[in-house]
Symmetry: D3
Subunit: 241 residues, 6 copies
């Protein structure tokens, strides 16, 4: 057991990952994803319309919304609906989720419909955006399978799998999948979204303490590749269950 | 088995009620309440401040906020945070929950602190506001017990228990605890909030189809009394577990 | 003369009711309704369109908006237009007025048009929502008569009359039509909307102090029936004038 | 009788002016002002605080808010509270009213308190802003007299009287006090606010059709001087009643 | 050199005026206008649509928006986009600019298109709205010339030139083109918009200190006529360059 | 000359960079930065207060706001102030600028004051956020020097220099400093913020077309290092001028 991570994990060890399909009943895809104590409910909803800028082009759209229940965190946060607007962090995260999932979809094959991925954090312990992307992919596949079964689309628009993980330099050591205790006390962290072809879809690194050096960056990318590989396997296992 | 309720229930029969404490870990009280397929997460959060109008008076405050995840329902609803305001229905429900819970609290005994009850609907099948009140009471008791254990307050501010149920006239017959299939096809419905002394705290009846007669009203109140008695017992069982 | 009500009224006595039609000139119906010192201007406006969810169905819509002039009350309230949103109380009241009036209209007979009832409180002394419903009914009838005279509709869509009154337990005694002095110092109050067939359309009871017992509830409903009967007569007298 | 103004008035003739004090009961000043069919309720409310930028300076503040009931006009306008913001026209008018009234007040003599003039149009037929200024002055004097009677202030802060009228070029002829029929069909109009010393406080002229020449401007100013003189007399008559 | 104006200017002397066309490259018209240290970027944008109330009428629209960069002024102002609304002063100014420019356009000749004049203050030193109108006219002409060159319109919709200047009574003397030092310490000021036929399009005079007398008003109008004549010449010089 | 970049630049060639200090006069720092045709006005404003979460801690704050003039782009965008909120892209960019600049400031040495960096895009041609960071650094240094000269702070809080550049894969080749023509037609792009110690402060990479491989990422990071080195030199040259 590692003696420096608060959780006792090894530097390259993910938290236990649980991906539970069919968590709620109305959505075409509904997945509860847990990265340790972080729990996010990801639903995929199909609607037979597209945003104005796509109307009449025969293409579909995939988008995401992100929310955090007020007491998902240690202290209560204001409810964004009550404050009258979504904060910058929320908008940034939901734009990231949307771009990441669009990267694995052939929008022509989807036809003129929208799939909205709602990612709502029931409990937060670091890494909510990476858990959301990883879970939303499974919800998206379930929703697409509904369309395929109904015969609404002929060709499967899923181009490949997508998963995400955070990495960071914690007390001088690169580590995988930061939890809240690490995240709030770390120098540098990066969210990495990859596909199952080993390609990078999104990289968002921030040096909160000292700037990170090129060799640290290389180590972090290596950890991310390992973590995403395991998450992709967990997604496939859940989808085969 | 009843042959006219879609669920096969008897007219005076509640749906199965589940009250699960400690559903999430950060809140001082966290309860998942299920009335059949309706599932609401109720958290109670303690903060050491009160709204402006109470400052310096030595009294506490109990308030509620209500939300529905976008895909808790059959078709996706817009996220209120994205639309930039809470709708009238939401405000109405959260005001009802707040008043109902304040009715069972001695705010002087609570001291200058606020307990906020966040009631978030994960899955909706009718009766979300009555489930929310019933579950929020349990979360409130758990939060108050945290304050008692910490020694922050000396006298228990809980004056009694509160629970709520809906009743309505469905195809001419008064029935208890409407589910969505009944609610969307019923003439008249009423939400009833009662305490464990048999007193009425809130009554909100609406005739959507034909106006209800005095004898129907009497029958509905009788059903509500029966239902609330069972819900109060379920709360106590959960709190004793 | 009663010696316990601040106004000297008997427990079952309404305040003087005045219903003045044609108060302003542009609206199809324009009624100033006074319940004692409470004065509400109710206008009915006809528009040849319906909300999106009704378009193309051949049905009409009846809706209400409620406002209070900033200095209708003892101390000035912020103007909702300046604050940038309608408060929860406002939304709740206007939803109540709208539902109450829709209960007396055959929306198929109305055709694809909307009647909006604007209820603006010029002076408040308790019971503004019940005065608004009672006055809005008269404005609605005037507006419908404009449509009938113009030949725009053939069948009168008004199904019956609707009026409303508040009742409450004041210092232990059930009383009718609470004014502000009573309302701000009473344990329990209830707003009751009824039609001229003796049916209940809306019941909204709130126990602000002690919960109300079933026998108190029965006494309150009896008072409400008496009060509404008198208000329905006052409406007819105004409409016949 | 003039044969070209829709109302039959002479070019230099005001509409009948009515100034009714004490129209509602809660405000320190409450005036219904009518310029013909234009009716505006002006209330003056005293509060013992000033905006942040004046705090601790020993000076008072006078400000105004303006609103129009949705059906004050020929066709219903959206309620600004429901739309979530005050329009540009509203803001412009209430800023004008506020500046005009501040011009007749010694804010040091007022002390650290705010008088808010709420001008709400019950019925509109052109000239609502000039009626509002004229009526608000009377409400302001009534509110100041309340302060004087209470002994809250020693020196009367009213420096002089203020009234306002519109003038315009209608079908080539300069006319006084435009009503809606004239206003909506006129080339040029100007709102003129003056004090009882014959000084100009505000001039707002707009050429909607052809630009106005210097000689037309001179004629309009002459008409305005005549109209304001009559309005100042009507204010004094109302205040002496 | 004048010894009482902070700038040393003569009472009837404008600040140096610079009108620089083509300041940015994307807009159909882009003008940086400087009245001394006041600098406003005015762009004219053509769009092939009109607001709803003009659709299908064959007429065009000319409108304006006004903004001030947060640090255009001595102390930083909040960004209106961050505050979530445009203030009353902003709305008032942009309405003034829009009306002024519409006064010199034949909207039938423009056809169903909108020209939007964005006037953004890079640096403020008094007179931003008059500089904006003066510069926006030049941007408008440039945009119209684009339409003419493209052959999109056949007849030039520009009816004449429009320019604006402020005048005021500073320390008892009427002066032309107030800068910030004068504006913030002056009794009375007026913004005057005129066309090249010598007609008045807008007059907005405000007595901040003492009300202005008719003879002062006459002097101010004379100064404005002189100032606008010079500004119209500067516009023509810029357009001929 | 390169034959595949629309601008004819070499793959590793920046656009001409201009950094003009003192562009406007009121701000403590005011810099116009041009990356080719992209022009951003960056002002630094000092205020002697900090946000609530820092009050009383003796630390300062550095924050940024970002805006784009409506016609900075090829087609006019809505003004965010008029729409009533800042979009997700705007919030994301201003958060990035703020984090980047805070990374080079010792907030204890700054004391309890806030420096706000307003970055307003006058003309856009790709890379507005990287130009903004690069220019804002220079404005920040100028503002800090004002504080030093005034003797308000003793120790220089600037820890080092920060600059930013974009890199991307355009038609299969990694290139430096994308302009709009490249940005809108490229597969992958990344914004890189670095300090003068060669450390990475922010990395934001997005694969819009195909996911990028590890070797492409390495090439992009190399280009970014080269570009930032040149930008840091341009900053120093401007500051020495």
């Amino acid at each position: 057991m590692s003696d420096f991570r608060p959780s006792g994990r090894q530097p390259d060890q993910l938290r236990p990952v649980v991906i539970q399909r069919g968590f709620t009943r109305h959505a075409e895809g509904s997945v509860l994803v847990c990265f340790g104590e972080t729990r996010v409910l990801c639903t995929a909803s199909i609607e037979n319309r597209v945003p104005g800028f796509l109307r009449g082009k025969g293409e579909g759209w995939v988008t995401a919304e992100y929310g955090m229940l007020p007491r998902a965190t240690h202290t209560r946060s204001d409810r964004e609906a009550a404050r009258g607007k979504q904060g910058g962090r929320t908008l940034e995260i939901q734009r990231l989720i949307g771009r990441s999932l669009r990267a694995c979809v052939d929008r022509n094959a989807l036809g003129e419909r929208t799939i909205t991925l709602d990612c709502d954090v029931l409990q937060a312990d670091g890494g909510t955006r990476t858990a959301a992307i990883t879970g939303a992919y499974v919800a998206l596949v379930d929703a697409v399978n509904v369309l395929m079964k109904r015969g609404d689309i002929k060709r499967n628009p899923i181009l490949g799998a997508v998963a995400a993980v955070s990495v960071g330099v914690y007390r001088g050591t690169p580590v995988l999948d930061l939890d809240y205790a690490e995240d709030s006390d770390c120098d540098t962290d990066m969210n990495v979204v990859m596909n199952d072809g080993g390609g990078f879809i999104e990289l968002q690194g921030t040096a909160e303490g000292h700037a990170f050096r090129r060799d640290e960056l290389d180590a972090l990318l290596g950890l991310a590749e390992k973590g995403v590989t395991e998450l992709l396997a967990a997604q496939q296992a859940a989808l085969s269950a």
